[in-house]
Amino acid sequence: MKKKPDTTLSPLYTYHEGMNWNPVEKVIFERRSIRVFKKKEVPDSLIKRILEAGRFAPSAGNCQPWKFVVIKDPQVIEQMERDTIRITRLLMWFIDYERGPVRRILLGTPVRLLTRLVPNMLHPIPFNLLQRIASGSVPVYHNAPVIILLLVDKRGVGTPSLDAGICGQNMVLAAHSLGLGTCWIGMITLLMKMKKWRKRFGVTYPFTLDDCLILGWPRGDYDGEIGREVQLVEWIREGSPQSKTTERQGE
């Protein structure tokens, strides 16, 4: 639909109604998760520049509860891919109730009960993705040249995983503004079930690993504006303390 529209950009630190995007907004609105990468190498200096954006992210009490691990070895990434697929196959052998008639009868009810116990992990979207990974039709790390692991220090102030998310988003926006493509890969949590990989990446107390970033030079021009669902926003304004008005954000 609307690809990158050719408009002049507004300067930073100014606002008037209906003005064009400024460079930061342009990066935010045209950012897409990139999953197809060139074989070209990403220079170390560029990765360091992106990590620098993460280092200066806001965090609760300025405790910076994160640690970065950069993986650039294609052999290690290949091993990670293989092991993730293996562990996904093992998991799906136990919980995939849509695979055949026998499984549908035996596993259907218990797995759907389990969905209620761990709703975030077994949401229909990741469940579908797990099925696709197990069948080999979707890759996990998309042959990315670089993986940045975002380890979270459990001892941080407040909600450390939220701080790590803010840090990651800083790095994502910095990477996109420099011409790289990134994508969040949450399936690394499955790999962290293996002791071998936990040891290798140093994911021991106090660190945990929930998410990682893949990055590389995008093959083709896939960034661009898209449509999203209209959001219902509740406004509590000065004049009406009891009643709140719902407005449709985006229309």
Partner: protein
């Protein structure tokens, strides 16, 4: 706004039936599509394939993969990567992903809107 009743919260749906989930839907405009296949290569879920035999058409047009026995269950969750990638603006998101009951999106409505300059 949609409020979930206690009955809806307690229900254990099967998210592989179209009665319990409404998957995303994108439509491909055969007049604008050139059959380049970019959308097939970038779809995160592998939900798009090239239609091998379109009657009366020489070029190949992409189509969504049907996953299970239920023909309304597609792998698409309307992320919009294909629409952003399409060089000919031939792809349109028709319908967003939304489950029913427990995982239902509550504060989003199905209409799609582009980023607006407020």
């Amino acid at each position: 706004m949609a409020n979930l009743s206690i009955l809806d919260k307690a229900k254990i749906p099967n998210y592989f039936r179209s009665k319990h989930v409404r998957t995303g839907l994108v439509i491909f405009d055969p007049a604008l599509c050139t059959g380049c296949g970019i959308c097939v290569s970038i779809c995160p879920a592998g939900a798009i394939t090239m239609n091998s035999d379109t009657p009366g058409e020489r070029k190949k047009i992409p189509e969504l993969v049907q996953l299970f026995h239920d023909k309304d269950i597609l792998a698409c969750m309307a992320c919009g990567d294909c629409t952003a990638a399409c060089p000919g603006d031939a792809i349109l998101i028709k319908r967003g992903y939304n489950t029913k009951y427990y995982f239902k999106k509550i504060s989003q409505v199905p209409d799609f809107a582009f980023p607006r300059k407020y």
